[in-house]
Symmetry: C2
Subunit: 453 residues, 2 copies
């Protein structure tokens, strides 16, 4: 019987814990959770703010009771402070300050990531009480919710136009707030090529979001007018006031616990793990947003994603109880709903593929989601990236209206990437067709044919 201790109650930690119990119900599993909210769906937080998900308890993938019924011992509101690698003990501190330690046979660290401040002066010093927010944990969620209820801010500046930034713009618009969205790069959603990012920006703007690109925010301060965000914009300066500021510019790996124990950091300053999720420290594995990931096209990189955390956690859990499972790696598949648009990508963009040694070429195709003669057909914009030397599929990007099966269409590309198919082979796929839902050659295949021709 293995005594397994897991640090972290989010996707990777809970996946690891459940997988260990599933494979060996005799495993003693303790999960040390820094807050009182194990297994909450961080990705769902924006939909709490749109009002679509209420109460906040609904955001739990599973309740604490569910987890305990599955045999997990939960240590909530407990901070893991130190790993005694040689002694196989984990020091922890409870909310009341009590310090103790837990012995383990195997340890899995899944401490995730922390919101980045991107070096913006004032963020950190100014807090939710001042109307300056980040959004990564349930505590952040409650703080923002309280602020919205108490001050009823009428305007917000969102710093960052990635997934969370765009989702929160939608949430604030749904609440009747004026929203300015500030993006450092030339286009929103920099995970897509700007041709497709422009479609996403147009959608946000059509819903009233004031999008300001090419703008680097350097500071936030309190002033008579409210909160003032300052920065540089196209050589000049940016200065705008609002009632509330939300900084959502990505995350950085939360590695302190492992680094103090001697673990190495690598890509993205995340903890280095191998395909078996081993840290190099004996009996210590790690998974999730705090560690590097294997990308099937890039090798080792840092790309924090919930889906990856689930997969890495599952591998770590299996191996912790004696399994021998290698993490198969990801292809970087991502999707976001922005108002009534869906934007998705998988694999690599040209600008990511080239430095990795590929010879990429990308073509754009616009195709119908289903036969045009049937009511409701909508355009899907597809960019396909392939390697000009061997024809290998390297990536794809899709933007289409909600309801046009964009999410699962990117998954066709993701499956093809996993299997290492060439762009040309996509035309050989036997994809489903009925006029209300597709075409004899699916949009995916028309885009592939356009790349090949």
């Amino acid at each position: 019987m293995t005594d397994l201790v897991v640090v972290g109650g989010s996707d990777a930690g809970i996946s690891a814990a459940l997988r260990a119990r599933e494979l060996d119900p005799g495993t003693e599993v303790t999960v040390v959770v820094a807050d009182a909210y194990p297994n909450f769906s961080i990705c769902g937080i924006p939909y709490f703010f749109t009002g679509e998900v209420r109460p906040w308890q609904s955001l739990a993938h599973r309740t604490a009771a569910d987890l305990e019924a599955a045999g997990l011992n939960l240590r909530l509101d407990t901070l893991a402070t130190r790993i005694d690698v040689a002694g196989r003990r984990l020091a922890v501190r409870a909310a009341d300050g009590t310090e103790t330690s837990l012995g383990y046979d195997e340890l899995i660290v899944a401490t995730g990531a922390l919101p980045s401040h991107a070096g913006i002066a004032g963020v950190g010093a100014l807090t939710p009480e001042d109307g300056v927010h980040v959004l990564h944990s349930m505590a952040d969620t409650f703080a923002l919710d309280r602020d919205l209820a108490a001050r009823r801010p009428e305007s917000a500046i969102i710093v960052g136009a990635g997934y969370v930034g765009l989702e929160m713009a939608e949430a604030f618009v749904a609440r009747g707030m004026r929203v300015t969205q500030v993006q450092r790069g030339p286009e929103v959603l920099s995970t897509l090529d700007p041709q497709l990012g422009a479609l996403v920006r147009a959608e946000a703007e059509a819903h009233g979001v004031d999008v300001v690109v090419n703008t680097t925010v350097t500071g936030v301060e309190r002033a008579a007018a409210g909160l003032v965000v300052t920065g540089t914009h196209a050589g000049g300066s940016f200065r705008q006031a609002a009632d509330l500021v939300l900084v959502v510019v990505g995350v950085r790996p939360n590695t302190g616990l492992l680094v103090r124990a001697g673990a190495a950091v690598g890509a993205g300053r995340a903890v280095v793990v191998d395909e078996w999720m081993r840290t190099g420290l004996p009996h210590v594995r790690a998974a999730g947003d705090g560690v590097v990931t294997r990308h099937r096209l890039l090798g080792t990189t840092y790309l924090p994603l919930g889906t990856t955390s689930h997969k890495q956690g599952r591998v770590a859990g299996e191996n912790a109880i004696g399994g021998d499972r290698a993490f198969a790696g990801i292809v970087g598949t991502q999707v976001v709903k922005v108002f009534d648009l869906v934007a998705a990508r998988t694999g690599l963009l040209d600008r990511e593929a080239r430095p990795a040694g590929y010879a990429p070429r990308t073509t754009t195709t616009t195709a119908d989601d289903h036969k045009r003669y049937y009511p409701g057909a909508r355009h899907i914009h597809v960019r396909v990236t392939g390697d000009t030397r061997d024809g290998r599929l390297l990536g794809a990007q899709l933007v289409g209206r909600r309801g046009s099966e964009v999410a699962k269409r990117i998954d066709i590309f993701a499956t093809a990437l996993y299997a290492g198919l060439s762009v040309e082979r996509l035309s050989e796929l036997d994809l489903s067709y009925t006029p209300p839902l597709g075409s004899p050659w699916d949009a995916v295949q028309l885009a592939a044919q356009a790349w090949s021709s």
Copy 2:
């Protein structure tokens, strides 16, 4: 410069013709079309009858003018009567009875299929003028449309509950008709296992269709009460009257032209072709619903599908002008919308896999199309079939509500089948996730995990 003659103006024929022109614009391409409706979307006909697609001209994938602009010479209303294989000439008869012949360097025959009468006495003798219909061509479409307009029938018996039968039940219901749907087997949509077919039947019944299963129709006759359909039902007899009878019980390959020229028939009495779409007759290729197909899991079989016709036609067209493209084969992917449900399959059912030498096992999983906390989550019913000896994925079936991305989810399985993945590997796929559109483990993966556990 190749002189290419194509017989048949539907999916396979037009795909072949266009592909040849695309690859070599110098090719002289003549397409002999038996009616005046080249490149019509047969799969769309039911939506003409629901009223969603009007006028009928919208059903054309491309207009005759489009095809001519692409460089095709169209010989409409022209029947190909004989192939002189040695002399490389095709005898044709125009609508006015004029007989002539066309010389060719290469010939592609894509004469498709004809509606089956399933040996039902009276069908064939009774015609659209009597209110007895089949539905495969535009002529059938016009005849049914005229009959509906002229007699305004209030009740219909549909013999057959496959794709077209179910789609037409929806169309007749949409027109306010009482519909009885008679199916030989124990459940509708026999391309699915009955557990899932039952969901489709319930949907049809919820919309007022009277579904009668386990009933073999043996005859249709005119009587005072209208048209009377007779048959056997669960050991007893079936007898019901209606104003209109539609027989949609599948198709049989239309092989006369090739068989008279000496081509061999095989599976399903379809013409035998190899992977290069060669018939064995020199310079004569064939493609589409009249020929056998390569199934990647079954080998050679007969499975008439529009998607396959497009693929085979494309291969035939490429090879006719000197290409060397092998048809990659299909995995039998199919999807149908039945009222507000979508039902899809790919690969093999247990009962198809076992005789083919596999050791199949199938499990059923019900999973949400997206995170349950986000509004509008719906169940998807998934059946996964794998081989118990090596874990290889053999097939999948899905039934879910319209709008839950069932069609493109079956395509994930179809892509995995193409690549020869094991069921277990499906959990390694990096599929997209955002709460409104999916789950960290997609329904596809949850079903695969249930199969493996």
